[in-house]
């Protein structure tokens, strides 16, 4: 099984993004590139928020290009607004489990408790986002992704607002869970250290062109000219 982007062309106004790549199952991939290079557009195409003008998105060989975001085998964490602040964490997770009605079904409570425990938030189900710290909010958002139980997870800089130590903690937690659950994770980040810490492979996006995933260590040892300029190496 793999995530495949075959001859994708996506347009946003004058901007064009071209991608042709395969991400193997259970890989942890960092997506790096300068601001405006097309990283978020790439994630939007995979998540289903943007329909490409051309090309196909496949998961496990199945064409998912035209599936709406909510029915894809993909869940996404945005930079912000990953949970509804007027609902408790438990209600948020319940809604993610039952998007048709939001009503809890038998067995849901146990699943929610298990996921909360998994992200280190046991006993926090009755709280609102405003009653939690930034790190706890990030864990709650991660719980929402986990409870959706989809094989592909997209992280669109969701921990950018956290301090360095907390961010590293969250990346380690995501990596650990991804490893255990066999999740395929794509992480967009501006910080090369995030990529080095988290990802096995790296996709470079430069002026709308997306490269195939390359081994993280090898890539940063010998970065291509575009990435070198982005990293500040001239």
């Amino acid at each position: 099984m793999a995530l495949q982007l075959d001859s994708i062309l996506a347009c946003a106004g004058d901007f064009e993004l071209a991608a042709d790549l395969t991400v193997p199952e259970a890989d942890r991939v960092a997506v790096v590139g300068a601001s405006g290079s097309g990283k978020s557009t790439l994630l939007d195409v995979i998540a289903g928020f943007r329909l490409p003008e051309r090309g196909t998105v496949r998961w496990a060989g199945r064409d998912i290009t035209r599936l709406p975001p909510g029915t894809r085998p993909v869940s996404i964490l945005f930079q912000d607004t990953n949970l509804f602040p007027h609902l408790t964490i438990r209600q948020n997770l319940s809604l993610a489990l039952n998007p048709a009605t939001g009503r809890r079904r038998p067995g849901d409570a146990e699943r929610i408790d298990a996921v909360l425990e998994r992200v280190g938030l046991a006993g926090f189900g009755g709280r609102y986002l405003a009653e939690m710290s930034g790190g706890q909010q990030s864990r709650a958002a991660l719980a929402r992704v986990l409870i959706q139980a989809r094989p592909v997870v997209l992280l669109d800089e969701p921990f950018a607002a956290l301090g360095p130590a907390l961010k590293d903690q969250m990346l380690d937690l995501v990596a650990e869970i991804a490893e255990a659950e066999g999740l395929t994770v794509l992480l967009v980040s501006h910080d090369p250290d995030d990529a080095k810490r988290f990802a096995r492979t790296v996709i470079v996006v430069e002026a709308g062109q997306v490269t195939a995933p390359r081994d993280t260590a090898a890539l940063f040892d010998n970065p291509p000219p575009g990435l070198r300029a982005y990293l500040g190496g001239g």
């Binding site: 289903g48 007027h86 809604l95 998007p99």
Partner: protein, 505 residues
Amino acid sequence: MAPRAVSIIAALSVIGLVIGPVTAVVLRAEAFSGFRPADWQAFRFTLVQATLSALLSVAFAVPLARALARRDFIGRGLLVALLGAPFILPVIVAVLGLLAVFGQTGVLNRALSPLGVPELQIYGLQGVLVAHVFFNLPLATRLILQGWLGIPAEQFRLAATLGMGRRAMWRCIEWPMLRRLVPGAFAVIFVICLSSFAVALTLGGGPRATTLELAIYQSMRFDFDLARAAVLGVVQIGLALSAGLIALRVTSVPVAAKGLDRHAPRWDTAGRMMVLVDAAWIVLAALFLLTPLAMVVLNGVAGLSDLGTSVWQSAGHSILVALGSTALCLLWALPLATRWGEWLGLSGIALSPLVLGIGLFLIVRPFANPFDLALYVTATVNAFVSLPFVLRILRPEAETIRAEYGRLRGALGLSGWAWLWWVFLPRLKRPLGFGAGLTAALSMGDLGVIALFADPDRATLPLKVYQLMGAYRMDQAAGAALLLLLLSLGMFWLFDRGGRVGPAA
């Protein structure tokens, strides 16, 4: 928010409510034999009173807004908040209050007669103007105050450092703001006063003080001349539409004002004379606006204990009508809280309630006795009339919710129902509560279309107050008016408070 189909159904029902009655009125108007001198008189009076009302409201609002902008005093916030109250004040209550102050046996005449001052006459053009200024001076003041507070403090600071005199400051800073805002405020008030009915019904009347709306009512109620009522209705539609379009072009200020509870510090207003002038404007305006309300309370307390069954029955009708209007208005407003929905809702301002009422009367008549449906028609028309205001309140928040949570909704794959129940309604509850309160209060105090249809068994409370006034049972009228005031404010408070219960969104 809602599935597209729900929005389309809501839009079609609103369009149907506009086109159906207007078509019925236009078709009926074909049988009209010609404009009578009294109709021309009503046309002229409508324009004259609307022009003078707007002119006076704005003329008084400019110095009052300036005084409020540059003075800070205890109770300033409360006074500014009270400037919003006339919007939900039942017209008939205000009229009773104004009569208690300016009427033949009112406070002012009683105070002035020992001094030999001739008796003030409230009925006629002057009464209509006093009532319109009472309702619209606060609106104009809020609009213009917003402009004054919108001038960056740096401009006054710069003027002070340059040593600019008062005239120069007026010419360079204040006059450009007023030139931009005053035409809009004038136009909005002109449009509101064009459709004046309840004020003209109670304080106007007679051939020299009849508005088009009142003439429509008289043709229906006294002459049962449907064709004449219809043609006056067509003229009213034309007038309101033209004025509404002009108002839209010249209006550059949002009606919902925020941050009016602060004041702009100035370096040029410390002179004793200026302080006195500002204080005089503030005190006079407060007296003008608050004394009638105080009189309603004072005169009404005694009558509250002796209201009679018919008044309570009317109060019951009013509560039912208000709740029905509120439910219908929200059912329309929720799916129409979009840009195009708000444009559609503007028809609620352009179309006069009486024209709508006559149209519905003509449509219903072949199938049922329209008088039996008086309360339903009133609830429907009141919902329609409140729609533009509720949409103005809901739309900004509704769009924010869609913008902020649309992607999360997509990522979760929430159904329309789950989105509505778990996200849209809970997050919208504050403006929803405010909008519902506004609709309920407006509907509660409405004395418009119900006057066309209702028989004594189906009177609402405002109509009952009017009937009691007509029968010179002023004590009972005062008691019923106080009850109406309490119910209107109570309904507003209940809904508005309801929207604030629970965790902050």
